[in-house]
Amino acid sequence: MNWNTLQQNRAVRLQRAATVLGSELEGKSLPAARIADLLHAVLECGDRVCLEGNNQKQADFLGHALANLDPARINQLHMLQSVLALPEHLDVSERGIAARLDFSFSGPQAARVARLASAGKLNIGAIHTYLELFSRYFVDLPPRVCLIAAEAADRHGNLYTGPNTEDTPAIVEATAFKQGIVIVQVNRIVDQLPRVDVPADWVDFVVQSPRPYYIEPLFTRDPAQISEIQVLMAMMAIKGIYAEYGVQRLNHGIGFDTAAIELLLPTYAESLGLRGKIGQHWALNPHPALIPAIEAGFVKSVHSFGSELGMENYIHARPDVFAIGPDGSMRSNRAMCQAAGHYACDMFIGSTLQIDLQGNSSTATAGRISGFGGASNMGADARGRRHASPAWLKAGQQARAGRNTIPRGQKLVVQMVETFREHMQPAFVEKLDAWTLMEQADMAIPPVMIYGDDVTHILTEEGIANLLLCRSDEEREQAIRGVAGYTPVGLGRDQRMVENLRDRGIIQRAEDLGVDKRMATRDLLAARNMKDLVRASGGLYQPPKRFRNW
């Protein structure tokens, strides 16, 4: 019995690479022009290949090279990647190089994913939440080859991934410790790295790409786009949930709704005396919208999944707040930050596209297969958690009061959504579009982002529904209808039941929370445009060009 097949096969691949590259392979380094030869040499048909495809950074040079290989030589690949962000990520499948795909999120490519899947050109294994996918890299989906992106390598092959470290540590560890092959594109090769994020021992090939790796500012929201309705909802969130439960540790799903909350901390939350009482520890990317709250002393710590373009100098000047290494620069880590969001946070709050009568929430729509990224992980009760906090205990008590069950805490999972979306599309529906998508894409179950059992609160412009306090399916349904505004679901409410739920505090309107609607103007925002954010940062924040109007 040969117990060493992986190592032996690895040696064969490395030998092929050495042979084909000849003297152009210097240590681990090869010229960009030879990338296709390298990939043809080290890949074998049927390999599991993990490509960075992160939420933010893209190993675009390597991805482009992969998509342009000869499908007659390399095919049947099983692609593993967090995000399908670039067209070449789908070209790999469309050209017949890849035969199977497991991923987490495909926002920019969602429509094309649906088209290719229905045309039989894309065989999706499953859609995962990020941490779930990383976990499988250590169980049944170890990558045979990974294609990653880093800021810099030194002459030995040590890597610096810096602020945009993101998914790299999880991917590299899973690959290197199953005798896989690690190929990295770097922006530059230097004599001395600021620090070592990936040791050279784990790295096989380094190529300096012609252009720096692609990265998008996905977590920047221009305060100028925040509406009065969103300010009102943010006020209700702060008073009705953050203050009510004493939420100190949290994650915000990205969006204008949560940006409004971030910008109301130094103003509205301050006026309620909440500094120090809420929002001190964050599992969050470096949102520019959080700058005023940091400057006002609300925020003690922010640990991030990735970085954010334009925030580099601000982060560098606030080392007590962010995850800064001994070298002075940030490191992010999506796997650890997702774990933090799951176990070490007392609340997740984010938006969605649709909610049904049980509180199931999904962004899945017909014709688009997008997945959910990290939301399913953040927006889930952490049943393995054992340490207590006031917010967790209170939520757990509310859920279990009057029931014959052992006491437990519960994570606050808040879905914040306006009752109508653009073009008068209702956010509240009897049946989620996810069911249609399930049939279209031949899925085993409808793709739900957050299950109703995990949702603790639904917040709309009409108020807050506290699902923790509901004791029957009927109460739950009416609580949801009671905040669903003028949507058909909302208009279908049982008026008497809804009034009863309001009397019992299960539904709370703005007036019940003591929120004055006339205060809900944009003047309440600590920053009302990008320039205000720059000013709040003392000039340290440098917004990417697309956000400037100067």
Partner: protein
Amino acid sequence: MSRPVSYQEATARERLQQLFDADSFEEFLPPSARVISPHLGQLNAPVAFDDGVAVGRARLNGQTVYTAAQEGGFMGGAVGEVHGAKLVGLLRRAVQDQACAVVLLVESGGVRLHEANAGLIAVSEVMRALLDARAAGVPVIVLVGGANGAFGGMGIVARCANVVIMSEEGRLAMSGPEVIETASGVEEFDARDRALVWRTTGGKHRYLMGDCHSIVADDIAAFRAAAAQAIATLAGQSAALSLSALEAEQQMLEQRLQQFGQLRDPVEIWSTMQIPDAANIPMLDVESFIATASKRRMGA
């Protein structure tokens, strides 16, 4: 010193309320008169009760001025038949009443193409009415600080005024950035490069090129002060166009073309003008910018 109130973010009516003396704005043809566009209904498009512009008179430091404010939120502030007629009527009324000044709060993409010839004629009539007002001794001051800027025919109208006051967020030009990119290609002008768009058409460059006379922070109080200052300065002068002024302007334009015509980017122009640390100009706050620019700008 109260917190700045963004001029850019305010609606036309909010600007009128807060720029002039409290409660002093008296509107001609208010929304309740329902003088709406006769064209938009046929196109199945919504109308506005004031057709996107409020005109009337108000007091500035106790002095009565005639004023109009275009609402950028309605059809980008574009000028249709009624909208244009209101501006023309205002300018003629100002002449009739021998107003000390007309202050136009311009925010417009120019002609409202939906109204075709009626829109084109309307804008040209506004130009003529403005020049008639100046000829009759009524100075016209234009404020440009809205998100939509002053483009197309209204860009031309703005430059017919005695004084143009801009914030750096304001933009003043003829063709819009997307139009230039479509016509001449993205290498010529990348409309999505917002920093480039503002370098080229924004208040700072206009100030340096002599196309606007005064630059202020994005703050209604700052616009108010600059407007009052302009009115005071113009009070001692003739408002009419003069041959010598036109010749001086022509000379300035020829000089601009000669000195900068071959350059590719405003930063190169600013360097050529000997402005220190030209690349950093967009990042300067208004006071620092004025300190470095006021002596070196064209038309200084």
